[in-house]
Symmetry: C2
Subunit: 666 residues, 2 copies
């Protein structure tokens, strides 16, 4: 057996961060320096020292309006009945906004209230000026020596203006902390070496964490430097770390190799070169985080952060440790993501003892903010790019039940979330296409979709957890969706007890597309499958869709018609949640056949044997039908461009796309 490390213990997240901060603030590591830079380059930097006004602004009493400058006391007594004449050049002086008042003047009369005389020597006024009217007084904005901006202030557009007005042309700011990023792993190749063929061969993975980490470093005001990939070799890792410690980097981030696997050398190498402060944090993803210090050029310890290799783990770990440290060094706090309360649309179980970071999609349905969980895997980087928010499930919690109110930190802006429509139900590729068209046609609008199958969508609609449901449920009546709607969304009197009382939900059924469903097969169809009956052949493995999905209902209905027992189909119990994942299972050889839409087969270059055409509809509650967001969506669905794009996917009928096909009174 190979050598393996184990975590000595897992430390709680807050405790771990406090430890990192404490060690990095100690005399042995030392604080970051400051520099004075030209104001033109100061956007986004952090003030290191209070900025005091070098000059007063305005630097003189000036006109706040176009008009005449006067001595107010000379105008006293003027009225409509007894206008007062003022001699130009002596008692009155034409002046433009912003200009200095002539000596002795203490008021400006607006040009609109000045009557020019027959010659250019006199003007007359019908109203007295009071002292200091329409005058911007010296120091009205700021007075020399006044403290204008406190240290730790992030310099944005407004701060640039204040500094300029105060004559602070070279503000003192914290230096940008320099961060050396060392990707590690023998299996890694750079993005530009990564061809599709090389990736499919399975020995090599593209290295892109450094790209994301560099962006996080910039976000926190630091300056990233990405180093070459280091292989899984203790000596080479030690060499790379030692050389980074000798560089001018303020922080070293080594990505991957911090776990407890046989080739995870990070923690051991940090301990060997300097001090290991911590290994293992009770967070998920992100558990294999390690950090310590190794001596730099001046002999002081330079902090090293060892973060896990899975992209989601890497990001969350760096957000929890790296970004706050960079912010601390610049004496500013990282902006916290806004907190909202959301309702969990399904149960969110979690492992006690670990603080879990769950990525969710969000939608505002009626008054409730609904949270729909995304895949939890630490490798699914798309669960970050698709997330609207993150729910942190505390270490001592076993999670939340469906319907629980839970705090969520927003990744997207509130306005974006408020303007988004949440659709839950069956997965279809055209939903992503619809989102893209909607965003392009109506900037600001978007469609957020979560995939739980047709029936799951109808139940979510019933529970008020989404705006729309996508469904293709074949009923015993041979029609799509109507039976399921009539069963689940009808008014239910509570003869069987109050628990079942339900007022019914009027909904409209709008066709998204007609879809060709069929068997998705390996290229060339080596097993010669031509019908559902062939799924019983020896050596054939099927990949199924989950219970409650329309495709599963279609399959079971056809099997019943054909008198085929599902026990005779190998792999019937093996489920996937989307058409594309079914197609991927076939492509990888995991299964011989799966049932799904033609578009999925085409997308991956797989064979396809049609089984039938089905109707994929949007269920739109009557109370949302006139919502502007829904109207924008319908307008998009009905556009020629969208229909053409759906048609181009292959396997879709668009004759009835956008049609209101049925309305249900509830």
């Amino acid at each position: 057996m190979m050598n393996r490390n184990t975590y000595l213990k897992l430390t709680g997240l807050e405790e771990a961060r406090a430890l990192l901060f404490e060690r990095c603030a100690s005399a042995k590591t030392g604080p970051l320096g400051t520099e004075c830079i030209p104001l033109e380059q100061a956007l986004g930097r952090t003030l290191a020292r209070a900025a005091t006004a070098g000059v007063s602004s305005p630097a003189f009493h000036g006109a706040a309006m176009d008009g005449i400058a006067v001595v107010a006391e000379n105008t006293f007594g003027a009225s409509e009945r007894r206008p007062k004449e003022l001699r130009l050049g002596q008692e009155a002086h034409w002046i433009n906004t912003g200009r200095i008042l002539p000596p002795g003047c203490n008021a400006v009369i607006m040009v609109e209230n000045v009557i020019s005389g027959p010659d250019r020597d006199y003007v007359s006024i019908e109203k007295a000026a009071f002292p200091w009217q329409n005058v911007r007084k010296l120091g009205e904005d700021m007075v020399a020596t006044e403290i204008l901006l406190a240290p730790g202030v992030l310099i944005g557009p407004y701060e640039l203006g204040a500094l300029a007005a105060a004559g602070v042309l070279r503000p003192e700011v914290f230096i940008r902390p320099r961060v050396a990023i060392l990707p590690s792993g023998s299996e890694l190749i750079t993005l530009h070496e990564a061809s599709p063929e090389l990736l499919a061969a399975g020995e090599k993975l593209p290295e892109f964490n450094s790209l994301m980490l560099a962006a996080l470093v910039r976000e926190a005001g630091g300056e990233p430097q990405v180093m070459p990939i280091v292989p899984d070799d203790a000596a080479k890792i030690a060499e790379a770390l030692r050389s980074a410690a000798q560089s001018d980097a303020d922080l070293i981030v080594i990505n991957a190799g911090s776990s407890a696997g046989s080739k995870d050398y990070t923690a051991a190498v940090i301990a060997e070169l300097g001090e290991l402060w911590l290994h293992g944090v009770a967070m998920m993803p992100g558990k294999p985080t390690a950090f310590g210090g190794i001596p730099g050029k001046d002999g002081r310890l330079k902090p090293v952060l060892g973060i896990p290799g899975y992209p989601v783990s890497a990001m969350l770990s760096f957000e929890q440790f790296g970004q706050p440290l960079l912010a601390l060094w610049q004496k500013r706090s990282m902006p916290e993501r806004p907190l909202e309360l959301a309702v969990a649309c399904q149960a969110l179980p979690s492992r006690p003892g670990m603080e879990e970071f769950l990525r969710v999609k969000l939608g505002r349905v009626d008054e409730k903010l609904i949270a729909v969980p995304l895949p939890r895997g630490a490798g699914t980087v798309s669960s970050l790019s698709r997330a609207d928010g993150i729910i942190r499930i505390p270490a001592q919690s076993e999670g939340f039940g469906a319907g629980a109110t839970v705090p969520v930190r927003l990744i997207r802006g509130r306005d974006q979330i408020e303007k988004s429509l949440l659709i839950i139900g069956s997965h279809d590729n055209t939903l992503d296409l619809l989102d893209s068209f909607l965003r392009t046609r109506r900037p600001g609008h978007s469609l957020t979709s979560a995939h739980v199958g047709s029936l799951g969508g109808i139940m979510a609609l019933k529970n008020g957890n989404c705006h729309l449901a996508g469904s293709h449920l074949l009923g015993a009546d041979g029609l799509y969706n109507r039976e399921a709607i009539a069963i689940h969304l009808r008014k239910q009197d509570n003869t069987e007890g109050a628990r079942d009382a339900y007022g019914g939900m009027p909904v409209h059924l709008v066709r998204l597309a007609d879809r060709e469903q069929g068997l998705i097969l390996s290229p060339g169809n080596p097993k010669k499958i031509t019908s559902l009956a062939d799924l019983q052949k020896p050596g054939v493995t099927f990949i199924n869709r989950q219970r409650g999905s329309g495709t599963r209902v279609l399959l079971d209905s056809r099997l019943k018609e054909l008198g085929i027992n599902s026990d005779s189909i190998a792999g019937y119990e093996d489920e996937e949640y989307t058409h594309m994942n079914v197609a991927a299972a076939v492509l990888s050889g995991r299964a011989t056949a799966g049932l799904g839409v033609k578009a999925a087969a085409q997308a991956l270059g797989l064979d396809f044997v049609p089984v039938g055409v089905e109707e994929y509809d949007l269920l739109i509650p009557d109370r949302f039908f006139n919502d502007l967001r829904v109207q924008a969506l319908l307008e998009t669905i009905r556009s020629a461009e969208f229909k053409a794009a759906v048609f181009a996917l292959g396997g879709y009928g668009i004759e009835r796309t956008g049609d209101l096909v049925w309305s249900f009174a509830g």
Copy 2:
């Protein structure tokens, strides 16, 4: 009289913006192009086209854990009592996280659950593996051809990762709109030409709006180019605009000259060179906004935005028109500032017919978010850099009364506002110093101060509108603050009616500093003023502080002692709100003398004749005394560094700084 334009009419803000959008979307102006750029440069750019996965990720079934890869079916039946042996290299294969599964394998058993045999040929397991356990399946994150990111998505760290994982190495993004910024005004000089002497002379003003505007352009994803300053000359403005229209700029911003003054040529020149679409918007600041289009190289109209010259007007106008236009061109929406409800701590009157943008400071006191207005002048750029939020008072409103609940858009982060202490009351320079020290010692903490005089502070405290009050009110008992506290914060039974019922507020009095108050005089004291009695001399003008301020109470008390009638003091009715503004009034010659602290006189190099030492205290309600923010503040006040800095200002006694001098039981 000079030639003057007038606004034809003022257009409402929303209507004006809709007009700008409509004109800029028309065929005559045309949309922005797109470009494909290396992923490494894509941070902060906006996707122009949906990004679809070029490769599946993972591209193969891989191990999700370190351990052995197996065929799950071969492990069935293994148990603790009947462990199963697997032959290495045939039935079991050591595998590290992320690596491809050997052909046929469909599960991974964690290394912790693998027992190595006596030799290296066999391992044994005590538990069966189920199919696909610990396996990252092909396409688990994304499947080739799947839409990954919709158009209009802003590319952040997460999106970079998703694009990289999908093999999108050159995403198609909208080009950065290029914005030519033309500062105009004969009185303007560049920041680097602006010496304090030149500014004080009053003929020249430093041009810094372009610096702020360039930052706003960058914030909205555009690329600014600042052009040389154009003088107030119609021909030269026309020439500059014509040349900018021939350049590759997508938008031209001409700053200043858009008003209705005699030298405001912008609107007329736009009309002359092309089309003027609008002149005058019903917003304040920002009214003199104008826009139109002038022909570019290709003959199509290039939009020109004429924005007012006052810095606050320029920023707000560009935020309302320029930034949304740049966002629209990139098919994304500008992130809206978060909205909160705040309580107005004082009346906020506003002129009907104009939508007013009021800058406010904010503090969370008990449950209420309190808004304190900042100066309204369009020239006070510090009202932007000091603001925590902006209250928009609708055009049809006459404003809000004190205590009204009003929506406010946050400029600072919520967390920053929540951690800030709000102090209202008398102004003192040491408060700004205290804020600076607090922020440096305790990053994240801050002190927000609003200046309404000592009595105003006590009333704000009574009304629950602040955490702390700063006060130096001399009582008839010869002591500071105690009498005022006893009068205003004592329990008041409602014998005179329910309106006066008040439960009393226990407070603690902590000394901030002892202050030397005295007469602030022109350098060299030309009028030979040595006492308050000298304020009655002919030719002497006084500048007073506002009623309710401690300095005013001190003055009135001393005048009474000396038997001096305030009518005999010229300028007694002329009021300022801070010591620094009193000093500025003396420096500018507006007044001969004012009463204020020595520090203010010293800061501006003025003479000072001491009148007495007074006690400046912080009033801290008992319910906040143990608040962690207050404790951080007290710790800062008591630090040697802070005391030394206060002492260095001059005119302050620090012997009792930080002492708890009195407690009041309410």
